[in-house]
C-alpha cells in the first residue's frame, strides 16, 4: 500500500474489537474503532474512511441499520462495508445485502480470510476510482471535441468489436484477453485528450488547416501522450494508464511509417494504437462534421480497405471486414448512421480534413 488505507472497525465487544484492530494494524491498515453505529456514522462524516468492518449486533444501531444510513447519505466516495456476524447468524446475509453491505465475515474468522477480503475491498475501491478518473478525463476530452455527439461512445464500441474479433485469432490469443478488451473500452475515448492543449483558433477552425496549423494540431498526440506518461510514472502498476498513454501517442501512426508523431511502423505501433486508428478514421468518415456531411458505410469501408497495409494494420482491417455489420449497427444505434451519398457541405474539400487529425 503506497498510503495506509484507513479502516473503521465498529464493534461493541472490546475483545472482538481488539482482535480486529490488532490484526488489521499488523496487515498495514490504519485502524480507528467505534463502539456502535451512531459513533461510526459520526466518524464516517469526516470522509476519511473508505472501508468499514462492522459487527452486526450492537447497541444503539445495528450493522444493517448502519449500512442503510451510510447508503442513504450518498457521500462522494463509496464506503465499502463488511459486516461481521457470528457463524450461526448467516441468515442475516440477505438482510445485510439488502441494507447495502458489500461483504460478510463470520466470527470466528481466520485472519488470512480477513486479509483476502480486505484486498478485494481495496481492489473494488480502486476500480471505482479508476472508472471515475477515466470518466472525468473522457469528459474533458469531449469538451474539446467539436462533435458533441456520441463520438467517444462509438469509438469505444468500434475498438471493442475489433479487439473481440482479434482475440479469437490464435496469434492474438496471448495479447488480447478479457481484461485487455475492457481496458481498451475504457481508455480509447481518451485518444484525443491532448486536444485540451490545442488553441481554439486551430481546433475549432471550420475550414481547412494551413500546413502550420496542421503542425500545431498534430501536437495533440504528444500533449496527450506526455501528460498520461507523467501519470503513468506516478502509478506504474496501473495498466489502464499506460494503455491510455499509448493510444494518445500512437492513434495517428500509420502501418507504413508515414504517420505521426514518431513515424512508427507496423508492429512498432502498439496494438491499442492500431485498433484505435481504424476506429477513429471510420467514425470520422461516417459522422457529420461542421465542414462535411457524413459518408455512407460503403464508401467508408472502401477507404478503410484501400488503407490496408499502408494506413492500417492489415489484420485490423481484416477484423473490420469480418465484423462490419456490427460497425453499421453501432453507427446506427449511436447516431452516426452512414448515408448512402456523401454531399460535402463546404464548396471545396479542405486541404486537410480536421476530422482525420
Amino acid at each position: 500500500m503506497s498510503e495506509q488505507m484507513r479502516v473503521l472497525v465498529v464493534e461493541d465487544d472490546c475483545v472482538s474489537s481488539e482482535f480486529l484492530s490488532a490484526t488489521l494494524t499488523c496487515y498495514g491498515y490504519a485502524v480507528t474503532t467505534a463502539s456502535n453505529g451512531r459513533e461510526a456514522l459520526e466518524l464516517l462524516r469526516s470522509g476519511q474512511y473508505r472501508i468499514v468492518v462492522s459487527d452486526w449486533e450492537m447497541p444503539e444501531m445495528n450493522g444493517d441499520e448502519l449500512c442503510r444510513q451510510v447508503r442513504a447519505r450518498e457521500w462522494n466516495a463509496y464506503v465499502y462495508i463488511m459486516l461481521v456476524t457470528l457463524f450461526d447468524g448467516i441468515d442475516h446475509v440477505v438482510e445485510g445485502l439488502r441494507a447495502g453491505a458489500d461483504d460478510f465475515l463470520s466470527k470466528p474468522y481466520h485472519p488470512e480470510e480477513l486479509r483476502v477480503r480486505l484486498r478485494t475491498a481495496e481492489r473494488i475501491l480502486s476500480l471505482e476510482s479508476r472508472d471515475v478518473l477515466l470518466f472525468a478525463m473522457a469528459k474533458l476530452t469531449e469538451s474539446r471535441d467539436n462533435d458533441t455527439g456520441m463520438h467517444l461512445d462509438r469509438i469505444r464500441e468500434y475498438c471493442r468489436i475489433l479487439a473481440q474479433e482479434l482475440s479469437a485469432w490464435p496469434e492474438y490469443h496471448d495479447e488480447i484477453d478479457g481484461e485487455y478488451i475492457q481496458l481498451l473500452y475504457l481508455t480509447s475515448p481518451l485518444h484525443d485528450i491532448g486536444k485540451v492543449g490545442i488553441p481554439d483558433s486551430v481546433l475549432l477552425k471550420p475550414g481547412p488547416l494551413t500546413p502550420e496549423e496542421f503542425e500545431v494540431m498534430k501536437q495533440h498526440t504528444t500533449i496527450g501522450g506526455e501528460t498520461l506518461q507523467a501519470v503513468t510514472m506516478a502509478h506504474p502498476e496501473a495498466r489502464y494508464l499506460s494503455m491510455a498513454r499509448d493510444i494518445a501517442f500512437t492513434h495517428h501512426e500509420r502501418w507504413d511509417g508515414s504517420g505521426y508523431p514518431f513515424g512508427l511502423r507496423e508492429r512498432e505501433i502498439p496494438l491499442c494504437g492500431r485498433l484505435t486508428a481504424l476506429a477513429d478514421v471510420y467514425d470520422a468518415l461516417t459522422s457529420r462534421r461542421i465542414y462535411k456531411a457524413k459518408m455512407g458505410h460503403a464508401q467508408a469501408r472502401q477507404i478503410i480497405f484501400d488503407g490496408s497495409g499502408s494506413h492500417f494494420d492489415p489484420d485490423v482491417v481484416e477484423a473490420f471486414r469480418r465484423r462490419e455489420d456490427e460497425f453499421t449497427r453501432v453507427a446506427n444505434l449511436l447516431n452516426a448512421s452512414p448515408e448512402a451519398t456523401a454531399a460535402p457541405l463546404a464548396a471545396a474539400p479542405p486541404a486537410v480534413q480536421p476530422a482525420l487529425v
Partner: protein, 124 residues
Amino acid sequence: MAKIDAANLSGVIDLNELMTRCLNNLEFAERMLTLFENRCGDDLTELERAFEQGDVEKARRVSHRFAGASANAAAGRLHGRATELRNDLREGSLDAARPRLHELRQEWQRFTEAMSSPPLVRQA
C-alpha cells in the same frame, strides 16, 4: 498479563487456533487472553444482574457478545455454552434459560482456574 501455559489451558482454550488467530504472536495472544478474561468476567456479572432484574433483552445481548468474544478467543466450550444461552433467551423466557446460565458460570469457573493456576514446573 496472562502467561500462556499450554498444559493448564488445554481443554478451555484451543491454543493452536488462538495462536493462528493472533498471527503467531505470543504477546498478542497473551494480551487477548487478559482482555478476554477481564471483559467476560464483567459480562458474566452483567448477565446475572440482567437475570435478577428480569431483563431478557439485555441478557440476550450480553450473551451474544460473550459468544462472539469467546469465539474470537478460541474458547470453544465457553462459546458453546454462551451460544446455547443466547439461543434459549431468544425464546424470551429467563426462567427456561436459567440452567444455561448456570452451565456458563461453571464453564467460566474452569476457565479462570486454568488461567490462575501456576505454570507447571517442568523438570529438566
